[in-house]
Symmetry: C2
Subunit: 204 residues, 2 copies
């Protein structure tokens, strides 16, 4: 009788190493920041050599792109888990909180995802940015529900969701940059009223 196939085929090992590199790189980025995200460090922690980065990702920018794609997928999953209630406005608030909490829990990842300053020459191309916009779809859907329910003025859901996302994104960016020194309680004095005021303008 024939021997059963080995537990791990070469293809599996290839994919496993690729996945392990992404996981290690994500961990290093989360725990020690972008300056620690080097090819030598990641490959050493993953138990391989620097060449793995090049055979699997073509270089450091490719590895960063891979973990950023992972980050966007996680953000999308997280926003997708926000339950839909019969209060569309509250759902939008919950989506925003989910977005912000994700950013707060993964600050370095968030910074790289939306970063303008390059990390080792890394930069998103158009296609990858569109991948990043899948998470945005959750917000568009929420806005559509609010319009259907009549709590938000009719209009383009994309444009309205863009406004909400823009304002929230600005807050999170300033929050992470440490630029929220102007007021003592930025969340209560800036974030909450800003979203409320924006909503008010979106209703009437």
């Amino acid at each position: 009788m024939s021997v059963p196939p080995p537990e791990t085929s070469p293809d599996d090992e290839r994919a496993a190493l690729r996945r392990r590199l992404i996981e290690v790189a994500t961990d290093v980025l989360a725990e020690e920041g972008p300056s620690a995200l080097t090819a030598r460090r990641v490959t050493r922690d993953a138990g391989t050599s620097t060449m793995a980065v090049y055979t699997h990702f073509g270089g450091m920018p490719g590895l960063v792109r891979a973990i950023v794609g992972d980050g966007f997928a996680r953000l999308d999953r997280r926003m997708g888990e926000v339950p839909i209630t019969d209060d569309p406005l509250q759902d939008l608030v919950a989506l925003g909180e989910s977005y912000r909490r994700h950013a707060l829990e993964h600050p370095h990842m968030y910074a790289v995802m939306f970063g303008t300053t390059s990390l080792g020459g890394y930069g998103l191309n158009r296609e990858e940015r569109e991948i990043g916009l899948v998470a945005f779809g959750n917000l568009v859907a929420g806005v559509q529900r609010a319009m259907d329910a009549g709590v938000l003025r009719q209009g383009s859901p994309d444009a309205v969701a863009g406004q909400l996302w823009t304002a929230l994104h600005g807050y999170v960016m300033l929050e992470q940059s440490g630029f929220h020194l102007v007021v003592d309680h930025p969340e209560a004095d800036v974030l909450a009223p800003m979203m409320t005021n924006l909503m008010v303008g979106l209703m009437a």
Copy 2:
């Protein structure tokens, strides 16, 4: 009679070299981006050696800090040039346009000023962030005028200016990151209505 002082005293030369390094670094950043902003490149263009960076700025982070301080000062000056009319609301819009235009004209500088991802281990400390907030004062003053004129509901000018700044900052960040693919005309469909809606919420 005593000889007139030489055209350039050593103190002047010191200050001149320091200023020249800042100017060269600012130019290199503007024209070739953060990846070209190296100690060797800047000092070579300035006609000196890498040591100048250390004697005058303590290292590359110090040089970056210096040019960022310059960038904030320029932003402050630019926003301060926005004329005050008898339409406080329009003045706020003009301030926002001034802010955005400055960011568009100096994208790399803006990215470093508000960047979360580090540029060679550079990061702002609390004091330097407060320096960055001087430009914010222009917006606070504009909000105060609008409140005094009764076109904006009474409240904390800091908090309200923070809301406006946050939303605008979010737009500029997304614009520069290239994340404005959702709508065809982001300026008309997102920026303008967002600011308008926010203003509406800030009036009644």
